[in-house]
Point group: C2
Chain length 340, copies 2
């Protein structure tokens, strides 16, 4: 069975030369969802954005037991500057690993590769799937699984599943967040970037990501894309079949009319169509799959408008409707505990 | 725009040490569908199976203007024997290219790689997708497209599309077979093995495979897998969206009850469910998509049983029902010409 890499904790978050908080989104996500895993932050200079973590040099972090240096952001100018290469070499020399979510495979930069070789440190490119993934089997695995699906890309699937996992664990439910994209992988410390997996192994990758578990355990699996996306629907379907989900949560951005990015000709599917299609296809590998909630991004609406819309959608779809930022996801977990 | 490799014709078909015709299926397929592209066959010895082509040495084939040596079969014992390596080196030295459909990447065998380097000959591994494939755009391309879809893997999708393309060309319809698997690619001389494409680029690969064309031109696209396959459905959906098909042909094997291979727990979906699901998802990138026929493998049935079943299915589904081996596909093309 393919074994997934687990990043060594705690982390030193590299913030580089990011001036705006949005340029350090990945690091901010890690600090928000996994504060206990974050030992400190490393800023190039005092103009760099801060996440209100302890500022640490590489040496200080290593001395404090830091396991992994997290490179979650590209430099403002593009490329991977020589000064950052030197920092990565210092990190490895200090006995730490590096994890990167960048498109550039920094483990292939000669000086970094040589330092990794010399020190035995790992340089983990979280966009690169593990080797030797199998084809899917479709065979039922023990344990329970929740998957977020969406009406589009970038509608809050990662945020929703992280919030659901957090609320489950707060209640003492045995659950694990299963990451399928680079940010989620850096937050959780393991996972598979499914969109980078060779098509034949999509469902198999999802089976590896979410292995057999105890009967009371929930895997909370981060969804990707949408069955209605003209470019990425294949990823979504492979994930849907491989997940064998008992519970689906449909994620949607209120007010979004067309597919994000360069797909303005493609309307967002109606919610009932998205629900029916996802349940229908998911039932192929788990005939008991059910919808347990809608998770909305309602940031385009005022608080009042949002709450009214959510109440209306609850009436229509007979499942809890939440906005994880505005309302939290407690109502959704209440429903899940009663109905699965 | 990514450019697809076109194999140089005509071919010398390598039959190796295959004793049984079934071991030389790929070469037999090329000889059957593209006789004019086959200059001759190369057999290791007189016990090797024959396709009734002219026996030729590498030198004779080169002198007769052969472009590519086709390695479509693995040796009986497995591995890639030293004697075959020598033959491949001789092929390259004679100025020919090599195309292989094997899992082993023969272009990476040191002696073959060195000979290719020395001679400038190509060693084309048709299972390896081209580099630099883009993400799908979903943007409408000119020209018309037919895609075969299936209730399972191995139900005749390649055979059906090859037969449809052949019948179209016989009638003077401007059409091109677009191959998506290794055998189809060796038959056509170009194509993309979509199951080997990284998931993110599935629809984009299909768009590259079937580029804009004249309004009267048909791309006849080989389908893969099935939307109901627990391991490979993602491939099928990426292909379905990328193809923007005007016309779908559903392929099915009469009498098959469960999914081929190690998936006995998975029933073959009912035909009406397979039709509805394929049309529904395909309509996302071409709202005018329609079903133009069922193409059956009826080899499990007697001639009488098969014809009765086909007539019944025509009554139910209101489209032509053919078995390309038993009845040909003329009826399907008649319907297509009237209805698209």
């Amino acid at each position: 069975m393919t074994k997934l890499t687990e990043l060594r904790k705690p982390y030193l978050l590299f913030l580089g030369d990011a001036i705006k908080a949005t340029d350090a989104k990945t690091a901010a996500g890690i600090a928000y969802w996994r504060p206990d895993d974050c030992l400190g932050q490393f800023r190039i200079n005092e103009n760099t954005v801060s996440l209100d973590l302890a500022d640490m040099s590489v040496k200080e972090a290593a001395a404090a037991g830091c396991g992994t240096f997290i490179v979650g952001l590209a430099p403002v100018g593009g490329g991977f500057p020589e000064s950052w290469v030197s920092i990565c070499v210092e990190v490895l020399e200090a006995g730490m690993d590096i994890a990167s979510g960048l498109h550039t495979r920094i483990g292939e930069i000669p000086d970094i590769a040589a330092a990794a070789e010399r020190t035995g440190g790992l340089v983990v490119d979280v966009r690169t799937p593990p080797e030797g993934l199998p084809c899917g089997t479709g065979r039922k695995r023990r344990g329970k699984r929740l998957l977020s699906v969406g009406t589009d890309c970038c509608v809050g699937k990662m945020y929703s599943t992280l919030a659901i996992d957090a609320e489950m664990r707060r209640r003492g439910i045995n659950s694990t967040f299963r990451a399928t994209g680079q940010t989620g992988i850096l937050i959780q410390g393991s996972g598979i970037a499914v969109d980078a997996v060779v098509s034949d192994f999509l469902s198999g990758a999802t089976e590896v990501l979410s292995p057999e578990n105890t009967d009371d355990h929930w895997d909370v699996i981060e969804g990707q894309g949408s069955l209605f996306h003209p470019a990425y629907a294949g990823v979504s379907l492979g994930l849907l079949h491989g997940a064998q989900a008992d519970a689906l949560v449909l994620c949607h951005e209120l007010g979004r009319l067309s597919v994000d990015g360069d797909y303005a000709d493609f309307a967002i599917p109606p919610l009932d169509e998205a629900i029916t299609m996802n349940l229908s296809l998911a039932s192929r590998t788990n005939k008991d799959v059910k919808l347990v909630g809608l998770s909305l991004n309602s940031s385009n609406l005022s608080e009042d408008e949002a709450l009214i819309t959510m109440a209306e959608l609850e009436d229509i779809h007979k499942v809890p409707v939440v906005d994880p930022v505005r309302t939290g996801v407690a109502k959704l977990i209440d429903f899940l505990e009663k109905n699965t």
